[in-house]
């Protein structure tokens, strides 16, 4: 068996005003990948290609061992998909939807669905049109989870829901991973959610994947150094410096290739290293996007 649940190789898709370019990504079974990008960066297009909803112009896509879009019918039996614009029937109840999904998917797990109803604080007799946004997200997630899919694909699952609901949703996502056979890909611009639960992170901007790695490696590589320089001292050129901010005497270096040797190298020039700060995923994302955009100035 292939231990990659998702594999994109050189995938491109051209639209009149937007191009998705040369997307390569691999998602090992049993892990979570968080997809971070600004609005319009290409997250949803990538996810639609993965689902076979949009056909790529170039490159190959394999999902759970099936070539997409050719074998999408077989693949979709094992994929649970939740997006922001999910189509639920407004005048039908949650119970009706549960029954409907159950009639299509043989692996529907009724006891699990009922426990999710309780945990998500949803009532089966509620009609979709009477639900709040957060309740609708939870209902859609319930319908996807109770099918016990091997791959969950979630487009912005935590956008616009309250903190308590977010906590519940993240908890259920982690619970899915408890058995090592299941895989999750989710997109978000809430970097805090991604930072918390993702094993792997992909940054996407302007239709390209600009960085992709294990989360721990991301967080390890990036550091911000705050220095105090004596007059007339210039710093050597360090590899991986993404940004130099601050002032002449009080420079702030942002690096994506941090190495403890950098600290002693700075000290050797006579500089005082005031702090070596870790960066949040959000800071890393913003610094990454800005430096790349400057580098490829339009």
């Amino acid at each position: 068996m292939n231990d990659l649940s998702v594999q994109f190789e050189g995938v491109s898709k051209k639209y009149a005003h937007f191009t998705l370019e040369n997307i390569n990504l691999e998602l090992p079974t049993g892990s979570i990948m968080g997809f971070i990008g600004a609005n319009g960066a290409g997250k949803s297009t990538t996810i639609r290609i993965l689902m076979g909803l949009v056909h790529q112009d170039q490159g190959s896509v394999h999902v759970l061992g099936h070539a997409m879009p050719a074998e999408q019918a077989a693949a979709k039996l094992d994929i649970g998909f939740v997006s922001e614009d999910m189509r639920l029937y407004k005048s039908a109840t949650i119970a009706w939807h549960m029954e409907f999904i159950r009639s299509i998917y043989p692996r529907w797990d009724q006891p699990y669905a009922e426990s999710l109803l309780r945990r998500f604080d949803l009532k089966p007799q509620q009609k979709i049109k009477g639900l709040s946004h957060g309740q609708r997200v939870k209902a859609a997630l319930l319908l996807a989870l109770a099918r016990r899919p091997r791959l969950l694909v979630l487009d912005e699952p935590t956008t616009g829901i309250d903190p308590v609901a977010r906590h519940e949703v993240l908890g259920e996502l982690m619970a899915v991973l408890a058995d090592e056979e299941r895989t999750i890909l989710f997109s978000s611009h809430n970097t805090l959610d991604v930072e918390q639960i993702s094993d792997q992170i992909a940054f996407i901007d302007r239709g390209r994947i600009i960085d992709i790695d294990d989360k721990e490696i991301f967080l390890d590589r990036w550091r911000r150094l705050r220095l105090v320089l004596p007059p007339d001292v210039t710093l050597p050129r360090f590899p991986g410096i993404v940004e130099v901010g601050g002032s002449d005497r009080l420079p702030v270096l942002t690096t994506n290739q941090f190495d403890p040797d950098m600290v002693s190298a700075c000290q050797n020039t006579g500089a005082t290293v005031q702090a070596v700060d870790c960066m949040t995923l959000e800071e890393i994302f913003v610094a990454n996007v800005q430096s790349r955009r400057e580098g490829q100035a339009v």
């Binding site: 991973l177 408890a178 918390q196 639960i197 721990e216």
Partner: protein, 135 residues
């Protein structure tokens, strides 16, 4: 057993370090004793709602430090090392000392002055101890 590990979003340190520290404290105060089985990586990830890779990182570092032992296919246990807690306090001392030096440097003190201040602190504590005993 493990749900009382708390991860702070405002703590500047990476999550794996926070997890390591809390596991070490648990061992230092004797809540987890040598030879105890500890939660599997996935169990702890699910309980803390934190990615598997973060817990894996914390466990790997703890293993490297000799705090826990991982047996292939059998999960992890607290290392059967009797000096564990004193060693953990030793590490904490080293950390605090570094912090002291950093603060001293920030204040523009020389190494000599920092040592002197430490000496003063020791004398103060000794004196306090003495007055307590003579009372």
């Amino acid at each position: 057993m493990h749900s009382d590990i708390v991860i702070s979003q405002t703590d500047g340190r990476p999550m794996y370090l926070q997890i390591m520290e809390q596991i070490k404290q648990r061992i230092a105060v004797g809540e987890w004793t040598p030879g105890d089985e500890i939660p599997s990586i996935r169990q702890l990830a699910v309980a803390l709602r934190v990615s598997v890779i973060t817990i894996k990182r914390a466990y790997l570092e703890l293993e490297r430090e000799g705090v826990i032992v991982t047996q292939q296919g059998k999960g992890s246990i607290v290392a059967p090392d009797p000096d564990l807690s004193s060693r953990l306090y030793d590490e904490e001392l080293a950390e605090h000392l570094e912090q002291v030096v950093r603060l001293g440097m920030l204040l523009g003190l020389s190494s000599k002055e920092i040592v002197h201040r430490l000496r003063e602190a020791i004398d103060r504590l000794n004196e306090a101890q003495l007055t307590k005993e003579t009372l």
